[in-house]
Subunit: 233 residues, 2 copies
């Protein structure tokens, strides 16, 4: 009997937004994996710190360091190596948890490991609170109601795609808004929905910032983990 590979969402940043299932699986894991930077810092592990502190028995750790370069080859080699180590643990009937910021299957790196192990090993995914729902909770505004529609796009989409999303759907969430902030502000004006826009960064963390009036937002690039929410009034 081989072990099971779990992708476990730890939510957007508040350690209390881990699910009971996430805590149980983290505490029972034989091998705990997570993305990490070269200095050893892991945002996902940081969010899960209370679950980790309560771990009584020895548990192996596998930090996965993805090269900063945009070249997919280098990243693919790291995922290949990590999935080989995970496969070895699964062959030894170990339980392996990969910690994922937010939700594992909503814009994240988990799928790079999942697609390498799926089919060969038992896999299970534990959903986490995504930035979508964390944003709505922070704003205390419904993301969607009744007959409304919602679209999720990103600052990497073209002007035409963003304008079409804004023209077509009641609720629009624009993720990865850091580099594209100025362009998004201009498009919100062109679409006539500037006054419906709200801006958030670092949701659920001590550095959380919410801007309810976009006229007050600096017209320059911001952090990667920032987003716009556009809601009908």
């Amino acid at each position: 009997m081989t072990g099971c590979f779990y992708g476990v969402g730890v939510g957007p940043g508040d350690p209390e937004l881990l699910t009971l299932k996430a805590v149980r699986l983290i505490q029972n894991a034989d091998l705990l994996c997570y993305l990490s930077n070269e200095a050893g810092h892991s945002q996902a592990k940081e969010i899960a710190r209370f679950a980790l502190d309560e771990t009584k028995r020895s548990q192996q750790r596998l930090p996965i360091v993805i090269p900063m370069s945009r070249q997919r080859d280098a990243a693919n080699a790291v995922y290949d190596a990590a999935s080989a180590l995970i496969a070895k643990a699964l062959d030894a009937a170990q339980s392996v948890v990969f910690l994922c910021e937010g939700d594992p299957l909503f814009f994240g790196s988990f799928n790079y490991l999942l697609e390498r192990l799926q089919g060969r090993y038992r896999c299970q995914v534990v959903a986490g609170i995504s930035s979508l729902h964390a944003a709505a909770a922070a704003l205390q505004r419904p993301l969607t109601q009744q007959e409304q529609s919602l679209v999720v796009v990103s600052g990497r989409h073209s002007d035409a795609e963003l304008l079409q999303a804004l023209a077509t759907h009641d609720s629009v969430v624009i993720l990865k808004a850091g580099q594209a902030r100025s362009r998004i502000l201009a498009l919100l004006k062109r679409s006539g929905r500037f006054d419906q826009g709200l801006y958030l960064e670092q949701i659920g963390r001590p550095e959380q910032r919410i801007v309810g009036d976009l006229a007050e937002l600096e017209n320059k690039a911001g952090p990667y983990f920032s987003l716009f929410v556009v809601l009908k009034k």
Copy 2:
């Protein structure tokens, strides 16, 4: 000092998908509110049952029974009466929790209470796992990756709206698919994305059903809590 009104998401059905924060607030609540049918059954309360069992001290309960009719007047009168009772508890410095299936601000009834109390009382929202992320976890398929876009529509949208969503976005989730199932199946064929469609009902519950090949799905109405997920291969 008045009390705080909390909208607390309990997730899609699996009691282990409650967050630590949800459990804490439920256990500390002086007044616990939830939607209920006339027979006294509440899906949200059922999902939260383990948190409730551990409640040691006396806690008041407020089941809110919304009339089945589609008339908004009757429902509004019930929300008016419930929010008056909640306001009274808040005036007495009590902590009030309203249990929400899934996420409180993603298609739900919580906003009917929130809009009646917001501004007058302290309010806080605790995000929950929505059916979106529960579906992706059950399917073990990424909802979105990299430059993809996601749209969430419902079986109540028009043919034109559904076809446009299918033509424009990589990932399409169609909620409230019960009554509209036959129409959705026909539209998936027209859009050329029938083979990318997946069907789910009762996610995370013992009755959970996943249909990976839509040719095997009966061409007739299904339960309210059913949805289609259409993902690029």
